[in-house]
């Protein structure tokens, strides 16, 4: 018998899901996270879940893991000291960046740019030049480079990036630099821009490769350590890490290309949401993951999350595919304030975070947060014990909101309702970014709410978006672990190939695609996925010649071989029309070619709840009543205990459903139906 294990490490809990690969049976476990060394929590969880299942850890064949190590390394600025080799004349490529100053007209007055991820003092130039056509203009001056390496040695760099101009067209010079560096800097991991992201645009390619170097030692240490611990009891166990694009990478590949893990955490949430919603019968959805400081949203169409070719963490944006997750600085800890000059109510982006936290948590926070507003309104009743033991203090929440109410000249409850409305509006903006603004009608999508605060706000967001039903899956942490456990191994190979349609043929393209596919399949084979379990899909990034954007077209290679370039050209025109209301009668141009190889997905089914006898909520799930402030007035709402709900139960709003790590609000005029998998599906009462 073999098992696969999904592991999600959250801020408070580590969730695990154990799946029997033959029967599809599932076991779960929840243990406290251990932030200092998360592998400790993971190992505790492994022990617990195996105990629950009555199996020996040696029966686990694969561990699938989403991690925020790479993300946190960037956010906390705790990455390694990166050295950089550029083409002569381009030493300051990161210092100049794209010359962009954010903040609109006059924004420069308050803009302070952060220092480059690779310090200028650790940057040297190589005397060489590659042409845009891939032909060398000037060979590498090896002697001079050997000399220049002394500076990097003196600076004690911990990782090295080589990023030369036009290396996307020909990596020869970067490889030559690598050879010199290996000798001069033994033991220092080297990342080449031509292998990390062989695409045009020197700044983007450089920052991506530098980011890779920056997080590499930290990620490598974490992954190696975890792998070692897992292998202790089971030599054959295979560790896979979830990538930003929702695919899995082997532990080894993850250590080499950690820049692809920057969105690993959110990607796990989206993958889990996709899987859970699929079980419930929904394949078009908006995911809404609201945490303490920020909210992540994404759009899923036909069971597939939209991807984009860019990942942003903090103020670093890199060229790496990731699930198109948009993040807004709005969460439970977002602070409300009223600037004196305008008298407007603002919420966020400043956050009280976990420390000092919302006032209601009584951990020293005094500023009014979104959580405090939820407490004042009765959406987070004091019956809730966060994480099982934390008390909620309504009096402190009211005290914190009072100044806001005073500044606005309204009651504390109304001010709290205002805070919720504003923060909902901010998140609504993010949801619109991934839907309406991409040409999708939100009415065609269900909205799935998770994360610590998601279920509190999801019903209201569903109402703003007109997206029904609103799906509240059981246990937000479990959701991510589901995502991990059900994800497929994935790899892609890409190449920049700029050609007008008129200047290329389907035969040329087919030849390159076959090479790319072989490359991607080889990586999968190295991860133990046999060819027969793999599928390859092809993508082309296309634009009208001269245009800045590229749209990615998926197509069937066989069809391309048989047909003409319209196979990729027509879908491009259609997409352009959907997105921007017009198509052009202009020359089309190919920019990048990409082959994506994927392993088989696990076929498991979510655990089912027992059905209820009657159509009304069983009294056993009822905890009592509580007063909530909703739609401008006080109302009586019913309190329910989530783990006592049965399939087929119907919950009439206003209601508040409590579980250990999240709270669900069902608004007046809405009904929540519990489905057989324990999801609550909320829709307006008909």
């Amino acid at each position: 018998m073999t098992y696969r294990l999904g592991v999600d490490v959250g801020g408070t809990f580590t969730d695990l899901i154990l799946v029997n690969e033959t029967s599809g049976d599932i076991h779960t476990a929840k243990v406290p996270s251990t932030p200092d060394d998360s592998s400790v929590g993971v190992m505790n969880g492994v022990e617990r879940v195996c105990g629950n299942a009555g199996i020996d850890p040696s029966e686990i064949s694969q561990v699938m893991h989403g991690t925020t190590v790479a993300t946190n390394t960037v956010l906390t600025g705790s990455g390694s000291k990166v050295g950089l080799v550029t083409t002569r004349g381009y030493k300051q490529v990161l210092q100049i960046a794209r010359s962009y100053v954010p903040g609109g007209l006059g924004g420069w007055v308050i803009y302070n740019k952060s220092d480059p991820l690779a310090p200028l003092a650790c940057t040297i130039e190589a005397d060489e030049r590659m042409g845009a056509n891939g032909k060398p203009v000037r060979g590498l001056d090896t002697k001079a480079l050997e000399k220049a390496m002394a500076q990097l040695k003196e600076e004690n760099i911990e990782a090295l990036t080589v990023s030369l101009i036009n290396s996307y067209a020909n990596p020869k010079h970067e490889k030559a630099v690598e050879k010199v560096a290996r000798k001069a800097l033994p033991g220092v991991p080297i990342s080449l821009s031509s292998s990390v992201v062989p695409e045009m645009q020197e700044y983007e390619r450089t920052i991506t490769t530098v980011a890779n170097s920056y997080v590499r030692p930290k990620v490598a240490e974490y992954v190696k350590n975890l792998e070692k611990k897992l292998k202790k009891g089971n030599k054959n166990i295979q560790l896979n890490i979830l990538r930003s694009d929702g695919g899995m990478a082997s532990a080894k590949l993850a250590q080499q290309l950690p820049v692809n893990l920057l969105m690993s955490g959110p990607a796990g949430g989206v993958s889990g949401a996709v899987w859970v919603a699929k079980q419930a019968g929904f394949e078009n959805l908006l995911t809404f993951d609201m945490g303490g400081t920020s909210t992540d949203v994404a759009l899923v169409q036909d069971g597939k999350a939209h991807l984009r070719r860019e990942t942003t963490v903090g103020d670093v944006t890199v060229r790496a595919s990731s699930v198109d997750v948009r993040t807004v600085g709005a969460g439970g800890g977002s602070i409300a304030h009223v600037p004196e000059l305008t008298g407007a109510l603002r919420v966020g982006p400043e956050s009280a975070g976990a420390q000092p936290g919302p006032a209601a948590y009584n951990k020293g926070g005094e500023l009014p947060t979104v959580t405090d507003a939820n407490v004042v309104l009765g959406y987070l009743p004091s019956e809730v014990r966060l994480g099982g033991d934390m008390e909620i203090r309504k009096d402190l929440a009211e005290k914190a909101i009072k100044p806001v109410a005073k500044a606005l000249g309204i009651s504390v409850k109304r001010a709290a309702a205002g805070i919720i409305d504003i923060v909902n509006e901010n998140m609504y903006g993010a949801l619109r970014l991934v839907s309406v603004e991409q040409g999708f009608d939100p009415r065609d999508f269900a909205l799935i709410g998770f994360g610590g605060a998601g279920p509190l706000h999801a019903n209201a967001l569903g109402r703003l978006m007109n997206s029904w039903p609103v799906i509240i899956p059981p246990g937000p942490g479990v959701l991510c672990a589901y995502g991990d456990a059900t994800t497929r191994v994935r790899d892609e190979a890409s190449r920049t190939y700029i050609r007008r349609f008129a200047d290329t043929t389907t035969a040329d393209l087919a030849k390159i695609y076959e090479e790319l596919a072989a490359k991607a399949l080889k990586t999968l084979a190295q991860q133990g996925v046999p060819d027969k379990d793999c599928s390859v899909s092809c993508q082309a990034d296309i634009r009208y010649q001269g245009q800045g954007l590229q749209l990615t077209v998926d197509f069937d290679l066989k069809a391309l071989k048989k047909g003409d370039l319209a196979i990729i050209g027509d879908p491009f025109d259609e997409m352009h029309k959907q997105l921007f209301t017009f198509a052009l009668d202009a020359d089309k141009e190919i920019v990048n070619l990409r082959a994506v190889a994927q392993g088989k997905s696990a076929e498991i089914e979510a655990r089912k709840l027992p059905r209820s006898g009657s159509r009304t909520p069983v009294n056993a799930a009822k905890l009592g009543n509580t007063t909530v402030f909703m739609d401008g007035k006080d109302m009586e709402a019913t309190l329910y205990q989530r783990d006592k709900l049965k399939a087929g139960n119907k919950i009439e709003g206003p209601a508040v459903v409590l579980e250990m790590d999240s709270t669900t609000v069902i608004l007046a005029g809405h009904t929540g139906n519990v489905d057989e998998f324990g999801n609550i599906l909320i829709a307006p009462t008909s």
Partner: protein, 675 residues
């Protein structure tokens, strides 16, 4: 006759009370709509100028035409006054004529689209957007001729025109326009992109009104404007002194060898109102550096700048316009008479921000920043490649952002909102170019407690014969430093031919022939320093030296002595700083690096270029100024003697192109008549 608005639904909107939360939500939604306009445009436009560099500006206005969200303030009032026709549902206006929209756009390259938004037969709002087209015809590729004397030389000028009627594109008209441009495909695509962005705004506005109710939406926009007015009112009272402040700055030359041109402005407060008076600004130029400045636009510049400096929380819109009065004398560089040439207005437009900074900062020196990268230098390169295909590049350069109270100015960055550089690998794969050097210029940022950003050096190696144009400035006058900060280094352009010979190119020039293998070094200027450089922490100086942003020698401007290992020598630094402080005495508020006369005297030696001659002003411009003086509340005073003398001198000595001169004269008559 002002425009007539045609509505099928005669019901008036009613003004109702809006609760503050709904108001904030609508404000937020309007901001989202505005950003969405940008997003749509960037993704679908074709010219690098718009899609990579983001030379474009969106706006959404209320039904009276006041800007509620956007960047450059509303021109709709002026447009409605001047447009002699109807505004109907399904109309979409296109104009490129600064003179026809009271300077809402300031040169022909900017295509401005305006859409009245109707809901249920009633006008409910406006959406507008303009973008800079790479080429709009005219005498030189890029349509920005430095030596133009009249706007007729600068390309196809489109008066306010319904390019869509009843939502139908007027194809013949569009084709006629495109036929006059060198890169019609880019214009067509950029035009489509602008239309798509405007339609997006329209959709959002109608959705919003539907969601909240028409009256709520209407009233909310009104209240947003009022809220801004209240906030700005407090800000003005707190920050603008009643005592008159003066500031002046210069455009170094006009591309015809004359300069510098003075921009002068006074600012003071009378009760709640702040007044700006440009009296003392030089008369209009005979070349194309004139900037037809819209008063409302200046208010917006000023409001935005004040908000950014003093309180970035405030959302800006047109609400505060009543709190400002702007006087710009007619016939000056900032209010030239039609048909004066306008294409190269970018320098004066940029310099306005330095003038503003200097004016506002004097009232509150703690908020004073150095002179900025107040320009967008243009580089243009065009010709036929080996395959006989036409190539044409228009790109904007970047430089040193000034040191400011909040910190150092970034190196080689943009002072303009949302502008980005064009990736060099992109340039190299689409144009016959190789960018050999792309770095900031060591020591070019002004020394200060907060350092001015370094200017940028770009080495363009040409791979095909072609012609280039350059528009830049600040080669004679310095980007000044403040409160002890030193000026930044000036700009320069050096053309190195394949035979090794070097040539200094003037700051503004057209039709320079280049051959394959020639290299142009386009060096932009550094930002002015802010605050006392002798007080800058030595660690920060050391960091810059190790990064190569400041040289070992350059560190001495901070009174910092470096050892050979590029570490600070603390002892010698202490001594040097004490000596320098004593020698220097009291630090001035502004350091301009010398007055104009001194700069001119040192010009040839320091820049390798002849100093510019005293500008010649057309005599009629001086007369118009005089006439305007009587009509427009006595706001004009020009050193007539000097001006007239100069004018006479020109007539005798240079008498350039008598034909052009004659034309100017006849036009002057019409100008006088309309005035």
């Amino acid at each position: 006759m002002p425009a007539t608005i045609v509505e099928t639904n005669k019901d008036k909107f009613s003004l109702i009370d809006i609760d503050p939360i709904t108001l904030d939500i609508i404000e937020n939604a309007m901001m989202n709509a505005r950003h969405e306009m940008d997003a749509v445009l960037f993704r679908t436009a074709m010219s690098p100028g718009i899609r990579e560099q983001h030379d474009e500006f969106p706006m959404i206005a209320n039904l009276e035409g006041k800007m509620v969200v956007g960047q450059f303030g509303s021109f709709i009032h002026g447009f409605k006054e001047a447009y002699n026709g109807t505004i109907e549902e399904g109309d979409l206006f296109l104009t490129t004529d600064p003179y026809a929209c009271n300077g809402a756009i300031s040169h022909i390259n900017d295509w401005l689209l305006l859409r009245p938004i109707f809901k249920d037969g009633r006008l409910i709002a406006y959406a507008a957007m303009f973008g800079h087209m790479t080429d709009v015809g005219g005498k030189v590729p890029g349509s920005l001729p430095t030596d133009a004397r009249e706007i007729f030389e600068e390309g196809i000028r489109i008066p306010p025109t319904k390019i869509y009627k009843n939502d139908e594109l007027q194809t013949d008209l569009l084709e006629l326009i495109l036929h006059n441009c060198r890169m019609p495909n880019w214009n067509r695509s950029d035009f489509n992109a602008l239309v798509a962005a405007i339609r997006t705004a329209e959709k959002r506005v109608i959705e919003m009104a539907g969601r909240f109710g028409d009256d709520v939406f209407y009233s909310a926009l009104d209240e947003l404007l009022a809220r801004n007015k209240r906030a700005m009112g407090k800000l003005i009272k707190n920050t603008v002194p009643e005592k008159k402040q003066f500031f002046e700055d210069y455009i170094c030359d006009d591309g015809l060898g004359m300069g510098p041109y003075k921009i002068k402005c006074a600012m003071w407060r009378e009760k709640d109102k702040v007044i700006f008076d440009f009296e003392g600004t030089d008369p209009q130029s005979i070349s194309s550096i004139n900037f037809y400045l819209n008063e409302e636009m200046f208010k917006m510049f000023c409001g935005v700048y004040m908000i950014m400096v003093f309180d970035p929380q405030i959302m800006f819109n047109d609400g505060f316009y009543d709190l400002m009065e702007v006087k710009i004398p007619h016939g000056t560089l900032l209010k030239p008479q039609e048909p004066a040439a306008l294409s190269c207005r970018t320098h004066a437009l940029g310099r306005i921000f330095d003038v503003l900074g200097g004016l506002l900062g004097q009232g509150d020196p703690d908020f004073l920043a150095g002179a900025g990268f107040s320009d967008s230098p243009h580089f243009m390169y065009s010709g036929y490649d080996k395959n006989g295909e036409w190539y044409q590049l228009y790109s904007i350069g970047f430089g040193g952002v000034p040191g400011k109270p909040s910190g150092d100015g970034p190196d080689g960055h943009s002072l303009w909102p949302s502008f980005t550089n064009v990736p060099n690998e992109f340039l190299e794969s689409y144009f016959p170019l190789r960018i050999e050097t792309y770095e900031t210029i060591t020591d070019s940022g002004g020394a200060g407690y907060n350092r001015g950003g370094n200017g940028l050096r770009m080495g363009y190696c040409f791979l095909e014969p072609g012609t280039i144009s350059i528009h830049d400035d600040r080669w004679l006058t310095y980007p000044w430093g403040v409160n002890g900060g030193e000026p930044g280094r000036r700009s320069e352009k050096i053309l190195v031919r394949t035979d090794g010979s070097q040539e200094r190119l003037p700051s503004k020039c057209d039709r320079i022939e280049v051959g394959s293998g020639d290299i142009l070094y386009f060096n932009t200027w550094g930002g002015g320093g802010c605050g006392d450089p002798l007080k800058r922490e030595v660690e920060r100086v050391e960091f810059d030296v190790r990064a190569g942003l400041v040289s070992m020698d350059g560190a001495k401007r901070y009174g910092v002595v470096m050892n050979a290992d590029r570490r600070v020598n603390l002892k010698r630094t202490e001594t040097l700083r004490a000596r320098m402080a004593q020698k220097r005495g009291k630090v001035p508020m502004f350091d301009r690096g010398g007055d104009i006369e001194t700069l001119k005297k040192r010009c040839l030696k320091e820049t390798g270029l002849q100093p510019p001659r005293q500008p010649e002003f057309q005599s009629w411009a001086l007369k118009v100024l005089e006439g305007g003086k009587a009509a427009a509340s006595g706001s004009v005073k020009v050193k007539r003697a000097a001006g007239k003398k100069a004018a006479k001198k020109t007539a005798k000595k240079a008498a350039p192109k008598p034909k052009a001169k004659a034309k100017v004269k006849t036009k002057a008559k019409t100008a006088k008549k309309t005035a």
